[in-house]
Symmetry: C2
Subunit: 363 residues, 2 copies
Amino acid sequence: MRQDASPRQDQRDSASVTLQDIAAHAGVSRSTVSLVLRESPLVAERTRLKVQRSIKALGYVYNRGAAALRGSRTSTLGVVVYDIANPFFGAMVAGIDAALNREGYVSFLANSEDSPARQQRFLERMREHQVDGILLCPAEGTDPALIDTLDDWGMACVQVLRHVGEPPFDYAGANFHQGVCQAMNHLVALGHRRIAFLGGHSEHSATRERWQGYRESLEHHQLAYQRLLRSTVTRRDGVDMIEKLMAESPAPTAVVCHNDLVAFGAMLGLKRLGLVPGVDCAVIGTDDVEEASLGDPALTSIATHPHAIGEEAARLALRRIANPAGAREQVVLAPRLQVRDSCGAARPASDAAVPDPAAGEHA
Amino acid sequence: MRQDASPRQDQRDSASVTLQDIAAHAGVSRSTVSLVLRESPLVAERTRLKVQRSIKALGYVYNRGAAALRGSRTSTLGVVVYDIANPFFGAMVAGIDAALNREGYVSFLANSEDSPARQQRFLERMREHQVDGILLCPAEGTDPALIDTLDDWGMACVQVLRHVGEPPFDYAGANFHQGVCQAMNHLVALGHRRIAFLGGHSEHSATRERWQGYRESLEHHQLAYQRLLRSTVTRRDGVDMIEKLMAESPAPTAVVCHNDLVAFGAMLGLKRLGLVPGVDCAVIGTDDVEEASLGDPALTSIATHPHAIGEEAARLALRRIANPAGAREQVVLAPRLQVRDSCGAARPASDAAVPDPAAGEHA
DNA sequence: GCTAAGTTTTAGATCAATCTAAAAACAACC
DNA sequence: GGTTGTTTTTAGATTGATCTAAAACTTAGC
């Protein structure tokens, strides 16, 4: 009836074909078949071909579970993120998937929802499944000792985007510090003197790095105005924070945001106040998600390349699995400031004491 | 040194503790320990407690690979989506994760990028790993025979969101047909007579269902104007399509969009033309992603509840695994029209021959 | 005290691969 | 033809759990 090419008809119904069956069919031993499967150079060309024919004829399926029992690798990895519904993590997971796919690895995914308990449960499951390694965006409140524990468990662990504990550890992420400095330099060059930073929650490494960049930039450019608002990092937070800030006196002429969601919120908040983003107040986001270029106005954003970070993290994990004793690595990707319409020059009309001549040069 | 509660000190260094070791420690047989682990009622209370103490004392870790080799289940599932960077799928995966987590299942994730070849590679890997089942958002161009093949492989397969082939099959998704009808009814009640449908690509079930809803609504309300534009479904497509439509004469007074991204694009396109979304042209999206409520104006959208769909799909898969011979099920969730500001009444000023009195009732 | 029935426990086979160490096959050389 | 050295192949042990069928231990009844 069915006309497809697979040799399903030949197989006995759904009963699984084993090395033993192939050995019998090809007239060799189980060991030889195993060697063929693992592409050992020990086996003679003629034998190899004969065995491969039998493998095809019987529709053999490699049993990775059985192989893992005797061997040392499972070719599986665990991936933990805390918000898979966030497109940033989606892109990152896509990068991980692409890199692993190339190497024949496959990954379990868990969404911790920033709950250390849930994260812990998943990691214990991963241990039971004997994954070779873990890619971990640690949930908020993760005990730094966890990294050592994973090491004791014999699973390679690469932290991604955030990290807990002290180096040396394996890590892949973006240089948020540098990214914020780039944004600040750009704004200062445009003549801005009152720049606020919006958002960031509790004590994550990724937040600390941004805030440090902000503070150091202020110092470096000798700017007196400093306004750093903590918050969760949703679009609504952006609305709330910008409304609060613009009611202050003096109000900022520019804001740098923890991520693009906050930045979208800030732009929306400005519009609700009857102000024009990029004219009345410059807005810069972080991540450069796909929507950034299609905003109104198009959002200037610090591009952090989640797909690339995912790929780097996966590759680092594979390196560590291949060489568990090797030196720990930190792969920190440089961000790039993607300039668009939401960060015009500071208005001369605003109450700046001395209009900056530099503004003209760069406007 | 380290003060945590885990009995790591007792274990011999990283060598794994087996049932045999526990049996020796507790003074019982390997079989008894196995029964305790699986909570068999056969084991006497005293023995059970004794064995559980030994399990704790030795820091035993269950080896699921070994268990799967002898047993029939792996407690693993494969999940295939075609665009994990899309927040809609992110939310769906979060729903799947939540439902599986409760049942002690864990899932492999793959991002097919709508490539049947890549999807096929992943499914073969899943077979090698002997997953109990697959949650599949089939890639574009998937051969309908694939569903039967998976069945032959002995893996439960639940299609999600899209489906290929003929029923009966297991499926979880949203009632897109009904959703579009709700949107159309709403627009008609507001007085709209020229309603276009934007977006949808090639022959997916999820697209066909939307288009059918559109066409049947037109017929039901006896509307002569029909304009259905095919496209991929990105924000940019929305911009392009609305610009094209508004240049036509007569132009539509409302558009229903394949998803929220297209709708955002349509709103942006209207603004670029100097028109006001919700006033000059009503816009309705599909999915009701988080951003919908924060748009400018807030977007009316057909909420399809991706998280709930993910949960339903996962639960259905677990049911099928528990009972492979059971009747196939289709779980189709009813969408809900989330009315916001982007779909005002059709303007009396526009060239409608007869202003509809119904518009007043609902405005 | 012995048998029968019920409750607990266990030895040994099994699952499907890998690994080790040794055997078999082949070639080359004296 | 026998020895040596390679190249191939293989038997059998091993991995860590589950399963089956039987053994060992209780308890009840006469």
